[in-house]
Amino acid sequence: MNSGAGANKRVAIVGNPNSGKTTLFNRLSGLNQKVGNYPGVTVDKVEGYFSHDNQKVTLIDLPGCYSISSRSEDEKVTSDFLNGGDYDVILYVGDSTNLKRSLFFFTQLYSFGKPLVLALNFQDEADKKGVNIDVKNLQRQLDVNTVSISAKKNSGIDELKRSINEANSVSKNEDFNQLSILKRYEALDQLLHGSVVKSEQDHYSVTDKLDKVLVHPIWGYLFFLLILGIIFQMIFYVSEYPMMAIEKLFLIAESFISTSLPEGPFTSLLAKGIIPGLGGVLVFIPQIALLFFFLSLLEESGYMARVSLLTDKLMRPFGLNGRSVIPLISATACAIPAIMSSRTISNYKERLLTIFVTPLISCSARLPVYTLIIALVIPDEKIFGFIDMKGFTLLFLYLLGFLFALITAAVLSRFFKKNEQSIFVMELPKYRFPSFRNSLLIILEKVKIFVFDAGKVILAISIVLWVLSSYGPNTDQNGETIMTSISEVENISESYAGKIGKSFEPIIEPLGYNWKIGIAIITSFAAREVFVGTLATIYSVSEENTTGLKERMMQEINPDTGLPVFTLATGISLLIFYVFALQCISTIAVVKRETKGWKWPIIQLVYLSLLAYSSAFLAYNFLS
């Protein structure tokens, strides 16, 4: 055993959900954290480090459980890790305000034959509520180093570090060997009898009062709508300012590089490929940071469990969890943070289902596409004399996406949930004041995950897309095909993307599109709003000049029929295509990252492409 001074000690942190386990982990390791993978599962492996008295300690934060028998994927990670034995000490986080329930799981840990350390969290709350724990007595009876702490208030942390360092002998307790659940509770009851003095005060008096309002049939939903409204405002409007600043910064970098470096393919790759690609990754950080800031506050305050209580019955018919509501609402701004936030759904299948349907919610990147096409084909008329046709169409597109998200979830859940044990019991934790320090550490972790994991894929694909749209095949003096930079071949339609778009024409013709739209569909894989920019390039008008673009597109005549290209049928078909199609490499990269593999993003891409193609086909043929 590597327990000598200086050697690295590995400590597994275990505890019930809501025991403050992650707050303690963040308290102990601070900024020294690293996120990795467990083989074959979607749960993140979060490790942290600290040093105390020359002893280096590695902490492994395991998913919260109520017992060693695993049911969900998260719980399986914990039991597999404990069975695997790749650690020196188990640190158990107990709840001082409810020792009996929270020590049940603890008593199962003796069987792993490792030194145990018991941290009794929420000491401050227990003190206030008149719960008196005789720690010395408890420590003797349990044969375990026991420390009373408050992870949030930073009390008892040094003593806990010392206890972890000193935990070298295997903890034993014959009383808890091979007991049935009820016998285990009985043994625990007897043991606690001499160590814990409880007052008759109810710990939940404040919580019960708050719940009278927060899950009230009217006030409860109003408050929930208010929370959703704030989140929506934050990621839709507030995040716009830092996002614009990031975009601006990268534009400056781009022009600085193009003007200061000698012209050539390398400068072009750097200025037009890598820099915008990096910008395209970093631009998501404000939304991710803001969303996770709010989610961590909701989670830690205990409100998230109330969201499940309020919406469980509504979401159940669609196979979704109450917690799916927040990702789905966030997706109206952007699917990237939304998909990452589905992590708060503890049931793996419900999480997967939420991730799968999230891209169907119309995000803000679709808005420029919708606006342009609607302006182009929807007449300026009023339905029944007062409903604006254009506004109505926009509303219809949002509703269409939302409707299909629900339908898809309902159908898919039938396949997913066949053999699942469907019991649903969840703790409604006490309301607690969240800690900002903890929220900031969570933001940092999520941003790191996005930039270093999903970011790699996004950057790689955007460089490929850049090559495709800025280089094209050309013939040199010897008649051989060479790759030429697009500035020399003048027109995007001569680029590889252009060629692909043109060869695409027979496939997209049944939808009412020509090759110009084909090119724009291909380039907009980078991000949907690129559709508008590409069309502007093709019609050689500046991107800012949308009325100019609109007029050029209106004048476009189909050479075969002599009729305008952008008819109502083509326009509606294109709008519906963009409602459904997974036209976003960042979404694909994030789904890959969150499901830990290419299987689900590929299934999702195929499904959404088929859905987009067939509905656009139906719409076009119905209208023309």
């Binding site: 409810n98 329930r101 919580t207 469990a305 499940s308 469980d312 044990q421 019991v425």
Partner: protein
């Protein structure tokens, strides 16, 4: 026989036994154990799930699951 799902808001009862053995452990490990006094606190605004008080915690549980738990009022 009285089930947990039959209790009125604010009504307390002693847990007797569970209907199905497979789910029994899930309940028990979360502190819903025979002999324990359980209080139904209130229902979610849409009528389901229900919120109960058991071994000094608050738990929410769907009505169909609560129907697997048999109780006796004092």
């Amino acid at each position: 026989m009285l089930k947990l799902s039959d209790l009125k808001d604010g009504q307390s009862a002693v847990l007797l036994h569970f209907d199905e053995s497979e789910n029994k452990n899930v309940f028990q490990e979360m502190g819903i154990i025979p002999g324990e006094l359980i209080t139904k606190l209130f229902e979610a605004p849409l009528g389901d799930p229900i919120v109960i008080k058991a071994s000094d915690t608050r738990l929410m549980i769907r009505k169909k699951d609560a129907a697997l738990i048999f109780v006796a009022t004092k």
